[in-house]
């Protein structure tokens, strides 16, 4: 029975958008599979790792009948990807095997029953919904996600805090050494609610969202969140935990303010970073009248010095930082100038964008 007959890209694109979350090695074999479900002209693809589920749909030239099956996601993707761009592909279901045919190529893949495929049930209880553009949410993530912890024992840091309050959506990420905060306006007026998105969900969303003004609908449920955009629906479980109170660590008063061109600062830091100690990546930031010096040295006693002109009239300061934490923030902003504020060499510093209170980055110094 020919299930589908279509152009390669009609299948490959939706498959790639769901298969990113498929784990290569999993205790449950069916989780390496993707569910293909065909009804009429519509093909629905679904993948899951139990924590996240991604569904997408595409129109395909009608085959003979309807059907549903699960098949190895990576294998199917590798096959489609290695076919020529304009290849016409047909999928056939024959005796529990999925036959993939294109030109003179034949592939026979084993399948597992669609009924066995685990699906996340939609959470019961009160839900709230709001909408913003894909671009706005993607930028919110881009400005904060790099500060997430990766494998911290404080498991709630291995994710990103989303917080709604009034007409504002805030995102906060921290690994305990630095913290990134960004906010954006939304179309609903919501009570205060916090949730922690798992790291993998954040990275996946960042991969899937487009940089355009198409809408993204977000539905918050008690222990689940749902993102609908384009033809994709992503449902993710949440990290059950209490995110630390980020407002406590954003310094309220700062006395020394420096303003500099983001690009100049970034370039100087990239150069200085070459000779920082590979493990600790410490760089000394020396501030004087309208001047900022960067000094880096590595274990082999090699040394780099950079000096750039900045606007600064505060105390003379000599502060150490992990250069990686500074590069992260400078790389993920797109403004012309950045402001960098300090109290002294031992307390947190604040990186912000002049005239924009929707972004804050707090970073602790490093004693070098």
């Amino acid at each position: 029975m020919v299930l589908i007959k279509t152009q390669r890209d009609t299948l490959l694109a939706p498959l790639q958008s769901v298969s990113g979350i498929v784990e290569r090695r999993h205790t449950l074999p069916i989780l390496s599979n993707v569910l293909l479900e065909k009804r009429g002209d519509k093909l629905t693809l679904l993948a899951t790792d139990i924590e996240i589920q991604i569904t997408t749909a595409t129109d395909v030239a009608a085959g003979e009948g309807d059907g549903a099956v699960t098949v190895g996601a990576r294998k199917l993707q590798d096959i489609l990807r290695s076919l020529s761009d304009n290849a016409e592909v047909s999928l056939m279901l024959e005796d529990k095997r999925l036959q993939v045919r294109a030109g003179k190529s034949r592939f026979s893949l084993q399948t597992l029953p669609a009924d066995d495929f685990p699906r996340m049930t939609l959470a019961e209880g009160e839900t709230r919904q709001f909408q913003l553009t894909q671009k706005a949410f993607r930028q919110l993530l881009a400005k904060t996600q790099y500060a997430m912890a990766a494998q911290d024992v404080r498991y709630y840091l291995n994710g990103l805090l989303l917080l709604t309050e009034g007409k504002e959506l805030r995102a906060v990420a921290t690994d305990g050494h630095r913290l990134a905060f960004a906010s954006v306006e939304i179309d609903a007026d919501l009570p205060r609610q916090e949730l922690i998105l798992p790291r993998k969900t954040v990275l996946e969303l960042n991969r899937l969202l487009a940089d355009n003004d198409e809408p993204l609908a977000i539905t918050l449920a008690p222990n689940q969140v749902r993102f609908a955009f384009g033809s994709v629906v992503l449902v993710s479980k949440l990290i059950d935990g209490k995110f630390p109170d980020y407002e406590r660590v954003v310094p309220a008063t700062l006395k020394n303010h420096m303003t500099a061109s983001r690009t100049l600062l970034l370039q100087a830091m990239n150069r200085a970073a070459i000779l920082t100690n590979e493990k600790f990546r410490g760089v000394r930031v020396v501030l004087g009248d309208n001047s900022l010096k960067l000094i880096a040295a590595n274990a082999e006693q090699e040394e780099a010095q950079e000096e750039i002109e900045v606007q600064y009239s505060g105390d003379t300061l000599d502060v150490g930082f992990n250069v990686g934490y500074l590069l992260d923030v400078l790389n993920n902003l797109h403004c012309d100038d950045v402001q960098w504020s300090f109290n002294d060499a031992n307390s947190s510093a604040l990186v912000s964008v002049p005239g924009n209170d929707r972004f804050k980055y707090v970073v602790m110094p490093m004693r070098i």
């Binding site: 404080r154 921290t174 305990g176 050494h177 630095r178 913290l179 209490k242 630390p244 109170d245 406590r248 660590v249 100690n277 493990k279 600790f280 410490g282 040295a297 590595n298 274990a299 006693q301 150490g320 992990n322 031992n346 947190s348 707090v362 602790m364 110094p365 490093m366 004693r367 070098i368």
Partner: protein
């Protein structure tokens, strides 16, 4: 690695025993065993010369460190208990180990090789790998030159194996011992390597060897013929794949010229098995001394460690190890003793103990001024989570 490499493995012949023979040349041609702790020190004999101890007179628990080829002919090999080996060669001469002398000759032979071929990986007191790829000369002539230089500097012979990688070079150096020189080309794999026992591959020890034996795989050739999926199924992905590659003579490991130590350890086998409770005081004293010894080694070599571990061998020869990783690096005897004490609390202490060891790993070099250790990343002042 695109171009074919030329890697030499140089192994000193019966190194410790040979160094002893330099000192006591009158023992040449006799079975000589080096081992034990201090026992058997030669005494000046009346009328000149030395009076040597005989293996048959030894009482104690020491093991053979090295034996001369004459002693090996009687069946006495490194690692054997001295009293057990005495049953095989009663009249063999016993000499105590003299590590200062071995280190001295070790430095000399390495310096002699380095003068000819500087790309050397130090593999211990008596063996090195040498990367000869960059040398233009004929391989055999170069190897002969190295052997002569080693002999000129030390009066000792060595065996050299040369092949396309470290794995094969190591096997090759063992093919024609002592004073051997073996050069393996691509065609020699099937003829000279495959008939050898799998245990000739450096990395296949008793456990893997026994397991292969149960699978009916005894020679390297049989291992090469075994399907890779079978090996991966039996030994896991990385070991299985490695076995398959090793049997086909494949090994891409580079010759690593500067090596940082991975760990520093001290251990001791007791003169008699000690009981955790009844011999508590003695054990505690030895334990503290071992920790101090490790601390001394660390400080002398300029390292501090993040992980402290202990090793125990019980009277029934079962061994256990325990590790503890510390929040900050340490190099002091007291700190190491405390961490090792924590480890000791995690092992069962019901039966007598034969051996105790302390090990420092996770080593970090202490370099002055820009020292990474002084670098300390500040923490954001969140409230501690309730």
């Amino acid at each position: 690695m695109n171009s074919i490499r030329r890697i030499a493995h140089l192994d000193m012949d019966a190194f410790f025993a040979s160094v002893e023979l330099l000192r006591y040349p009158e023992l040449r041609g006799q079975p000589v065993v080096v081992g034990g702790r201090g026992a058997g020190r030669p005494e000046p004999a009346p009328g000149g010369g030395w009076r040597f101890a005989r293996l048959g007179d030894y009482v104690g628990r020491g093991v053979v460190t090295t034996s001369t080829y004459e002693a090996r002919a009687c069946g006495v090999f490194s690692g054997m208990g001295l009293m057990k080996s005495a049953q095989l060669a009663r009249d063999a001469i016993l000499l105590p180990a003299n590590f200062d002398a071995y280190r001295h000759y070790s430095r000399r032979f390495k310096a002699a090789v380095a003068a000819i071929a500087p790309c050397i990986e130090d593999r211990g007191i008596d063996e090195i790998y040498i990367d000869l790829s960059a040398h233009g000369e004929d391989t055999l002539a170069l190897a002969q030159e190295i052997k002569e230089a080693v002999f000129a500097a030390t009066g000792l012979t060595c065996s050299i194996g040369i092949a396309a990688n470290k794995l094969l070079a190591k096997i090759a150096s063992d093919l024609d011992k002592p004073d051997g020189l073996t050069c393996l080309g691509p065609a020699d794999l099937a003829a000279r390597i495959w008939p050898l026992a799998v245990r000739k591959i450096n990395g296949i020890g008793p456990k893997a060897g026994d397991k292969l034996d149960r699978l009916g795989i005894r020679t390297i050739g049989e291992l090469a013929a075994a399907p890779a999926p079978l090996l991966i199924g039996e030994f896991g992905k990385s070991t299985g794949a490695w076995l398959h590659r090793a049997a086909h003579g494949l090994d891409e490991r580079p010759v690593v010229t500067t090596s940082e130590p991975k760990s520093i350890s001290r251990e001791t086998t007791f003169d008699r098995d000690l009981h955790p409770r009844h011999d508590r005081a003695a054990l505690s004293r030895i334990f503290t001394a071992l920790c101090q010894g490790v601390a001394d080694d660390l400080q002398r070599q300029g390292y501090a460690c993040r992980t402290v571990g202990i090793k125990l061998r019980y009277a029934d020869f079962r061994a256990v190890t325990r590790d503890l990783t510390l929040p900050a690096r340490v190099d002091g005897g007291g700190d190491i003793r405390r961490a090792a004490g924590q480890c000791l609390k995690r092992v069962p202490l019901e039966q007598k103990i034969r051996l105790l060891g302390v090990r420092a790993s996770g080593l970090e070099a202490k370099t002055p001024s820009t020292t990474p250790t002084a670098a300390r990343q500040g923490e954001l002042p969140f409230d501690p989570p309730s």
